[in-house]
């Protein structure tokens, strides 16, 4: 796991992960001071919950995908990928080791958010607390299942087409899946377009993994009989993107 250790040591040394930890762990408390939670105490906890999860998402997109893209491009262009190839570390293995190192820095972000929600923003009633715990647990699991393949995709696309393209591919897919898919649904309904309907069906529906509204309005966790279906859906997307990433990844930039 030499490339894993090298990537992890490099990321640790760069220290930008400290910024992410601050943004996810500290900034939400500051943001709530300028939110409507200052006027209405009942809104403070939902504001904190929403802020911390939003920061986790922003950090994953801007730091996570950018870092993955940068590592993918650098591995291909710096000669390191070629060196590892000659020592028997295949391209697939290189992608996995880099992905594992980057993802190990991303994993704490949703865990910090969940911890803040549970420890600092839990509802006071016991029944609601159980629901709160379950919702945050589900959010953290779905968050990781959604982000994992996008990190690999950023790395793979960047190894072939450059870091900007890699970053834009994954961040574009994430934002589209969270917010853009809804507009496509409207288009499909209003214009009766078969193409729009097909696009909507085949798009990644990341909004299903975003229970922010459930946290904000205390709507309760996703039903446990439906949660495995969601996991299977995003697990399927994970497999497709993992395969695509492996096909796209290049350990050496061609001359």
């Amino acid at each position: 796991m030499r490339l894993f250790r090298l990537t992890a040591a490099t990321l640790f040394r760069r220290k930008t992960w400290v910024v992410c930890a601050f943004v996810v762990g500290v900034l939400p408390f500051i943001f709530t001071q300028i939110s409507s939670g200052t006027e209405n105490a009942a809104l403070w906890k939902p504001a904190l919950a929403q802020a911390t999860w939003a920061m986790a998402l922003l950090c994953s997109i801007f730091w996570g995908f950018f870092t993955a893209a940068k590592q993918g491009e650098s591995n291909a262009k710096s000669g390191l990928g070629e060196y590892f190839l000659t020592t028997g570390v295949s391209a697939g293995r290189q992608l996995f080791e880099m992905w594992a190192a980057i993802f190990s820095f991303l994993v704490p972000l949703p865990l910090i958010s969940a911890a803040i929600c549970v420890l600092a923003a839990s509802p006071s009633q016991a029944a609601e607390r159980t629901m709160w715990l379950a919702t945050n647990f589900q959010y953290a699991v779905l968050f990781l299942v959604v982000m994992a393949p996008l990190v690999a995709l950023a790395c793979a696309v960047a190894s072939r087409l450059g870091s900007i393209t890699g970053f834009l591919t994954s961040s574009g897919l994430a934002i589209y899946g969270l917010y853009g898919v809804g507009y496509l649904k409207l288009l499909g309904k209003t214009g009766d377009s078969a193409l729009a309907k097909w696009l909507w069906t085949s798009s990644p529906h990341y909004h299903f993994a975003d229970p922010t509204e459930r946290l904000r309005y205390k709507l309760g966790a996703i039903a446990w009989d439906k949660f495995p279906l969601l996991l299977a859906y995003f697990g399927g997307i994970l497999l497709v993107y993992a395969a695509l990433s492996r096909l796209l990844f290049r350990a050496r930039a061609t001359a």
Partner: protein, 216 residues
């Protein structure tokens, strides 16, 4: 486990190139343990041959056999500018060999606490070479393909590495591409790419001075 002697066997007709052929061997070439130099004028195929033998580039034609654990050190290898030399050693080398690598760095006057991006060209080369030499498997035959490892390296460091090479010639085959900078440099075994031909020339008294005439 019996130590395997490293060997590179280039069959006659091995042709290298990027789609279009650049050069090929007219006869079989067999290289055993020890240091072999790879010389040619600029753009004649030294890196292409090294890439082919490291299997990161497919040969245009013909075959070769490589027996031993291979490492190819590209000339333009770069690590992340933020990571320190010590960090590189700890990440890439077996734990038991990190101390030796740091000791060698001290002999070579290489500051392992410095970030890689702040090193001079020569010190970066030292870093790469230390990683390669300490990644050698002592239980097996090894093949090191080194692309211009002397570029930017001072004479003192070069002598230290050449001593290491001499002491490990039984289990390590090194094919070293270079542009020698002094005529009396001994090259008892050299792969010469001249025109479209690749040949092997040997001689215990062979020096760069004689080979240079052939290339010109």
């Amino acid at each position: 486990m019996k130590l395997q002697t490293p060997e590179l066997k280039l069959q006659a007709g091995l042709t290298i190139g990027y789609g279009k052929p650049i050069a090929s061997t007219a006869e079989d070439i067999v290289l055993g343990g020890g240091t072999h130099f790879l010389i040619a004028r600029n753009g004649r195929g030294k890196t292409t041959l090294l890439r082919t033998l490291s299997k990161t580039l497919k040969q245009v034609g013909g075959t070769f056999e490589a027996r031993g654990k291979t490492q190819y050190l590209p000339e333009d290898l770069r690590f992340d500018p933020e990571i320190t030399v010590a960090g590189i050693f700890r990440a890439l080398l077996p734990a038991a060999r990190v101390k030796d690598s740091i000791d060698l760095a001290a002999r070579l006057e290489l500051d392992v606490r410095k970030p890689y991006g702040k090193l001079s060209t020569g010190n970066r080369r030292k870093t790469h070479l230390i990683v390669a030499e300490h990644s050698v498997d002592p239980e097996s035959g090894n093949i090191l393909l080194l692309d211009e490892p002397f570029s930017g390296l001072d004479a003192y460091a070069r002598e230290i590495f050449e001593d290491i090479w001499r002491s490990s010639s039984d289990r390590v085959l090194r094919l070293v591409s270079c542009h020698p900078d002094y005529d009396s440099m001994g090259m008892p075994s050299a792969i010469v790419i001249q025109g479209s031909g690749i040949r092997h020339t040997t001689g215990s008294e062979q020096t760069w001075s004689e080979l240079k005439q052939q290339l010109n």
